[in-house]
């Protein structure tokens, strides 16, 4: 790590010497492994150490970005000079520049983002876990006929960010996951689903038994799927489908979408946009959170932002550029890779839990859809028009009745946010974006 900080310090010195007003350097240095076991055999054993360095220079309010995976001194120096050279060709933009001096975060510990144990797990043990997971999954149910594979993935390392205002931060991250994809077959129709557990800390992974059981249940319950009739009905979003809806909101509350007018929420700040029961939070300080961080990719402290409170849109999430452009303050939301400019993005983004159990929510519906999976095409961020491919289980008389596929759900995001009527008590932090179960009073289901 000291070696990488030295490289970054040299970049700043060279860029300043070359005439840059401001400069920052981001280095990502990770070690990762991926193991795939299928039908008891190791199909893939992959290991890598991805590294990359990105340089941003600012001069007279002009800027440029260069990056390289080649960290040899002469290659890095070439990229510093290249950045200074091409920056001259960009136009003056008064909003360009590093964050102001008093906003920076610090390198701390205590969020539980790095687990040293992950680096110590022997490959044999990882193979064994994936293999056990698959064996258990295949045994769960007689409808399960094939496996798409069991996977172990891990990654650990550092992000280093230095800038010419004197900020010098390093943060360590780790994560590991186990996942399983299964196949069921009946009457010559195959069905598939998967389940997973991913955590920053190895000991927090779900037990293999529970991952296997859920993967098998989710796969087997699709057997005998029908195509529903076209009709307008209440729809219950399970946590997976709910996370997809939150993903859409995540894309339209970021400052860059607002100033580019690529959002249906551009003029809605401070207004009620949803039912008053709805609270949506972005929290980069969540202990052990999949997307928690001590500082963002411009060096600002990670923080908790209430985005929607009692149905009112409270803030947009901004990096420095979009904050200046929108005449507001950055929210510690800058994200970038070494090869890209910072852009605002969510961290741990979630809908606050409500008071209903999933059974109560399903029980409130005579005829409707329990939505468990959606496809990603079909949403217009500018207008909020929503049309997604859908899978789920049909609800009859308050009970889950039979699986459905090959249908779509459609509506408009404004109407949907204003017709959320029951929010579940089952919020779990499984990924970066998490939702409890909730109900939307009416959506068009298009099928037969």
């Amino acid at each position: 790590m000291q070696e990488l900080i030295k490289i970054a310090e040299r970049v700043i010195k060279e860029a300043r010497r070359g005439g840059a007003d401001e400069v920052d350097v981001l280095i990502n240095n990770f070690t990762s492994a991926r193991i795939k076991v299928r039908l008891g055999k190791i199909e893939e054993l992959r290991q890598s150490n991805p590294r990359a360095l990105g340089i941003r220079v600012f001069k007279n309010k002009r800027k440029a970005l260069t990056y390289t995976s080649d960290l040899r001194p002469e290659s890095v120096s070439t990229m510093v000079q290249k950045a200074l050279e091409i920056a001259r060709l960009s136009d003056i933009d008064e909003y360009n520049g590093l964050p102001e001096g008093n906003l920076f975060g610090t390198t701390k510990t205590g969020l539980g983002l790095y687990d040293p144990e992950i680096a110590q797990i022997p490959t044999e043990r990882k193979i064994q876990m994936a293999s056990d997971l698959e064996t258990l999954g295949l045994k769960q149910n007689s409808l399960i006929t094939n496996s798409g594979g069991a996977f172990w993935n891990d990654s650990y390392g550092q992000t280093i960010l230095l800038n010419s205002h004197g900020f010098s931060g390093e943060q360590e991250f780790s994560n590991c996951s186990l996942s399983l994809q299964l196949v069921a077959e009946k009457d010559n129709v195959k069905q598939t689903d998967y389940w997973w557990s991913g955590q920053r800390t190895f000991s927090k992974l779900d037990p293999i038994e529970s991952i296997a059981k859920t993967a098998a249940e989710r796969t087997a319950r699709k057997v005998g799927s029908r195509k529903p009739a076209t009709q307008s009905v209440p729809v219950v979003f399970d946590p997976q489908a709910g996370a997809d809806l939150l993903n859409i909101i995540a894309a339209v509350v970021v400052g860059s979408a607002i100033y580019r007018k690529n959002s249906f929420l551009i003029d809605k700040l401070g207004q009620s946009i949803a039912v008053k029961e709805l609270n949506i939070i972005d929290d980069a300080t969540l202990p052990g959170g999949n997307d928690s961080r001590y500082f963002d990719d411009e060096g600002l402290a990670g923080r908790r932002n209430v985005v929607i409170e009692n149905g009112v849109l409270k803030t947009f999430l901004c990096d420095c550029y979009s904050a200046r452009k929108l005449k507001t303050v950055p929210t510690g939301s800058a994200r970038r890779g070494a090869s890209s400019e910072p852009a605002p993005a969510t961290s741990n983004f979630f809908m606050q839990a409500g008071r209903y159990s999933p059974a109560e929510i399903i029980g409130s519906i005579q005829n409707g859809l329990f939505l468990t999976d959606v496809n990603w095409v079909g949403v217009n961020y500018v207008t909020g028009d929503y049309s997604r491919g859908a899978e789920g289980i049909w609800i009859e008389n308050g009970k889950l009745a039979y699986p459905v596929q090959e249908c779509t759900v459609a509506g408009n995001m404004f109407d949907m946010l204003n017709s959320i009527s029951m929010i579940g008590n089952d919020l779990e932090f499984r990924g970066s974006i998490n939702s409890p179960t909730f109900k939307i009073d009416r959506l068009m289901v298009s099928g037969q």
Binding site: L45, S48, P50, T230, V382, S387, G389
Partner: protein, 507 residues
């Protein structure tokens, strides 16, 4: 975590690219693949003898074959927004990956340090997939020569940035002048040059230089409180002169995006439920890619993980359908001189008159299914092992004119432009997103329709193709195909097609 394969037009804000490293200025303007071994050896600091040592190491635990993949990618990116050049970037990605193969098991490791001891470690890591007493010999390297499907006079990464800035200004101005309702314009040029070098234990050795160029324009239009955005793009394995073609000029591309955005200001909700659907030419190849293409990638099929598994010789589509995957279309985004494991690309007939003829193979799937490779082994970069992937996939043209196809429909939906699609290869259900569509009433296109998702099952929908147009066109948009975490450039194509019934996700 989603295990679905997808196709999408890559966004306007895709990471940029830019550079002219020292090696690049040394007479590279007319590179023929295979003619520059000396340069690549220098570039990657590795000789044939060292390649042999690395392969030896990868085979040390008894693997039956091994390969080395070296890559040096230079990229450049430029973006105009609000009338000013805002983002400008330049980057280098280089590294090498080692694969050891035992049956259909692979060990893979890579390094992005061009440093022989680190390459040896990568080879040792990959070797661990095998644990046998076998000892396979490495054959003498034979350079594979191939035709150059993407000859470029001057690589665009080598062209003065001022020239590209001029082109972006043209796009920006053209969109703004086009209509007073245009309220904002963003345009970008991204180009890259990928230099690759390959050695394997069977003695195959090749080099290739792959240019890739893209222009993207996004336009937002506003009128009376209504707002819409739309994209248009062009991409090819070509130089900047690709934009000189009449249909590719920045002005034409910008006007195209502006036209869609303005048209969609008046869009009405699409109908819901099963409808007669006509797909316009070119872009609708997304249907072929999702409904047929992914399911015919052989790695799924030898594992029985496709709804097309075991169906060679059976009828899987209307007899009007002949579907081809070809890596041989000169200059196309899906073109490859050679695949990423040393096999020449081919014209692979996947479905002929509705009958399934075969799959798209990489080395491993071909060996497992005891057939010849089809030149479809592709990887995103040195960081990934090759998979069976598509190149340019299309439906062969038929005999109907577009006009008679549209005239034949009393009520239905005409789908013209698409954001992308997705498929579950195991059951075969696919969706695709339509971003420009019109209602068909009494044989004529009438009201524009809002964004909508179409959903169906592969063979089911392919059997409902009633009419095939004589107007086959290959799309030159920025299609990017995702599978198992790897994204690669591809092309798609389609003539005008009439489908008797497909579920339209209207509201």
């Amino acid at each position: 975590m989603k295990r679905r394969e997808f196709l999408k037009t890559s966004g306007i804000l895709a990471a940029g690219i830019v550079t002219a490293p020292a090696w690049f200025n040394m007479g590279y303007s007319k590179t023929k693949p295979g003619s520059n071994l000396q340069d690549m050896e220098t570039l990657f600091s590795v000789s044939a003898a060292e390649a042999q040592r690395l392969l030896d190491r990868a085979l040390a635990k008894g693997a039956q074959s091994a390969d080395l993949f070296f890559e040096y990618r230079t990229s450049s990116g430029l973006r105009i927004e609000d009338g000013i050049i805002k983002d400008i970037s330049n980057g280098i990605v280089l590294g090498m990956g080692v694969r050891a193969v035992q049956g259909d098991q692979i060990g893979y490791a890579y390094t992005d340090a061009i440093d022989f001891p680190k390459m040896l470690i990568a080879a040792e890591t990959a070797a661990n997939i095998a644990d046998t007493a076998n000892s396979f010999k490495i054959s003498r390297f034979q350079n594979i020569s191939c035709k150059n499907l993407y000859p470029v006079e001057t690589y665009s990464v080598n062209i003065d940035l001022n020239r590209k800035i001029e082109l972006l200004n043209q796009a920006d101005g053209a969109a703004r002048r086009f209509n007073s309702r245009v309220s904002s314009v963003t345009a970008s040029i991204a180009d890259e040059l990928r230099q690759i070098m390959y050695f394997d234990s069977e003695g195959k050795n090749f080099q290739d230089v792959q240019p890739l160029f893209a222009l993207r324009v996004r336009v937002t239009a506003e009128d009376n409180g209504k707002r819409q955005g739309a994209n248009a793009a062009r991409s090819a394995r070509a130089g900047l002169d690709f934009l000189d073609k009449p249909n590719n000029t920045p002005t034409v591309v910008a006007q195209q995006a502006a036209t869609i955005a303005i048209t969609n200001l008046d869009a009405k909700p699409a109908p819901a439920g099963p409808q007669v659907v006509i797909l316009g030419p070119a872009e609708s190849g997304v249907l072929i890619h999702e409904a047929v293409g992914h399911g015919l990638e052989a790695d799924y099929n030898y594992k029985n993980l496709s709804n097309y598994s075991g169906k060679v010789g059976q009828k899987v589509a209307s007899e009007r359908c002949t579907i081809i995957d070809t890596g041989l279309l000169p200059g196309s985004r899906g073109a490859i001189n050679i695949d990423d494991e040393g096999h020449l690309p081919s014209n692979t007939v996947l479905i002929e008159n509705g009958i399934l003829k075969g799959y798209m193979h990489n080395s491993i799937s071909a060996r497992m299914m005891k057939v010849n490779p089809t030149g479809n082994g592709r990887r995103q970069s040195y960081a990934y092992p090759p998979l069976a992937r598509m190149t340019t996939t299309y439906l062969q043209k038929g005999e109907c004119t577009a006009e008679e196809i549209i005239r034949s429909v009393k009520k239905g939906v005409y789908a013209k432009n698409f954001s992308g699609g997705q498929v579950d290869t195991i059951k075969g259900d696919f969706t695709f997103g339509v971003i420009e569509a019109y209602l068909i009433e009494d044989g004529r296109l009438t009201a524009p329709l809002k964004d909508v998702t179409l959903i169906g099952n592969g063979p089911d929908v392919m059997n409902k193709i009633l009419m095939v147009g004589d107007d086959l066109k290959i799309s030159d948009s920025t299609w990017s195909c995702g599978k198992d975490g790897q994204n690669i450039p591809v092309s798609v194509g389609n003539p005008t097609v009439k489908i008797s019934e497909i579920t339209v996700g209207g509201s």
